[in-house]
C-alpha cells in the first residue's frame, strides 16, 4: 500500500528552512511508505540555485527511498528565470498543477509495473 505526500511551500524560505524541509520530507517518505511526492511551489515567487538544488536533492533522495517526486505549479516567470540562471532541474519530473502531477505520478508508478489498485483516491 502506498500513498502520496503533498508538500505545499507557502513562504519565502531561508536556507536552513529549505534544508529542514529536506529532512522532514525524507523522514515522512519513510514513515508513510510513500510512493510519490508532490511538491507544490505555486506560491513561490522565486527559485534560486539554492532552492533549485534543494528540490533536485529531494528528488534524488526520494528516488533512493523508492518514491517518485513531481514538482508542480511553477510560475512562468520563475521557469524563465531558472532556465536563464542555468538550472534546468535534470531528473526532476514537473507538471503544471497538482491534478496533473497526480496523473503523472500514477502513470509513472504504473509504468514500472506496480499494482494498478494501490493508490487511494
Amino acid at each position: 500500500m502506498g500513498e502520496f505526500l503533498l508538500v505545499t511551500i507557502q513562504v519565502d524560505m531561508h536556507d536552513q528552512l529549505a534544508l529542514r524541509l529536506q529532512d522532514d520530507l525524507t523522514s515522512a517518505i519513510e514513515k508513510k511508505s510513500a510512493k510519490g511526492v508532490l511538491i507544490d511551489i505555486s506560491a513561490l515567487e522565486m527559485v534560486d540555485s539554492f532552492i533549485g538544488r534543494m528540490i533536485a536533492d529531494i528528488s534524488g533522495m526520494a528516488r533512493i527511498l523508492d518514491a517518485k517526486t513531481v514538482l508542480v505549479g511553477m510560475q512562468p516567470a520563475v521557469a524563465i528565470t531558472l532556465v536563464e540562471l542555468g538550472l534546468s532541474l535534470p531528473g526532476v519530473l514537473t507538471a503544471l498543477n497538482v491534478e496533473r502531477g497526480m496523473q503523472l505520478l500514477r502513470r509513472v508508478l504504473n509504468d514500472v509495473g506496480s499494482d494498478d489498485h494501490f493508490i487511494q483516491r
Binding site: 524560505m13 522565486m46 534560486d48 538544488r53 528565470t81 542555468g86 538550472l87
Partner: protein, 134 residues
C-alpha cells in the same frame, strides 16, 4: 545618469538574504518592472546576497534607483570584506564552486541582469554591482 534614491541593507545572516530579496522585489515593483524582470532581479539578488553572507562573511546590499533620459533602472551593489576571489576567471566559470553550491551564483546572476561588474581583492573583499534597466 542620475540616482533618484538609494539605500543600504545589512547582509549578515540568512534572514538578511530573505529580507534583501523582499526589498529588491518591492523596489522593482515600484519602478514598474515586468513580473519576469522582477523575478530575474530578485533571483540575481538572492544569489549575490548569499555569496556575500556565506563566502564573504557578511556585507551590505546598496540599492539605487537610476534615471537616464527616459530609462529607469535599479542598481544593486553587494559588498563584503571576505577573503576575496583569487582566480576570477575560474569563479566566472559555469559550474565551478568553492563551496557547497552549484556554482551558478556569479555566472547565473550575470545572465539575469543588463550590467554586471565584479571587483575582488584577495584579503580585502569583493564587490559585485548589477543593473537592470526597464
Amino acid at each position: 545618469m542620475t540616482t533618484s534614491s538609494s539605500g543600504e541593507l545589512p547582509l549578515l545572516t540568512e534572514h538578511d538574504i530573505v529580507l534583501g530579496r523582499q526589498s529588491v522585489r518591492r523596489l522593482a515593483q515600484e519602478q514598474g518592472f515586468s513580473l519576469v524582470d522582477q523575478t530575474k532581479l530578485v533571483t540575481a539578488a538572492s544569489e549575490l546576497a548569499r555569496n556575500a553572507v556565506v563566502y564573504g562573511g557578511g556585507g551590505t546590499l546598496k540599492w539605487e534607483i537610476l534615471t537616464e533620459g527616459i530609462k529607469r533602472g535599479l542598481r544593486l551593489t553587494f559588498s563584503d570584506s571576505g577573503p576575496g576571489i583569487a582566480d576570477m576567471s575560474l569563479a566566472m566559470t559555469d559550474g565551478w564552486t568553492s563551496g557547497s553550491g552549484m556554482g551558478l551564483g556569479l555566472t547565473g546572476s550575470r545572465r539575469l541582469v543588463n550590467e554586471f561588474d565584479i571587483e575582488s581583492t584577495v584579503g580585502v573583499g569583493t564587490r559585485v554591482t548589477v543593473t537592470r534597466w526597464k
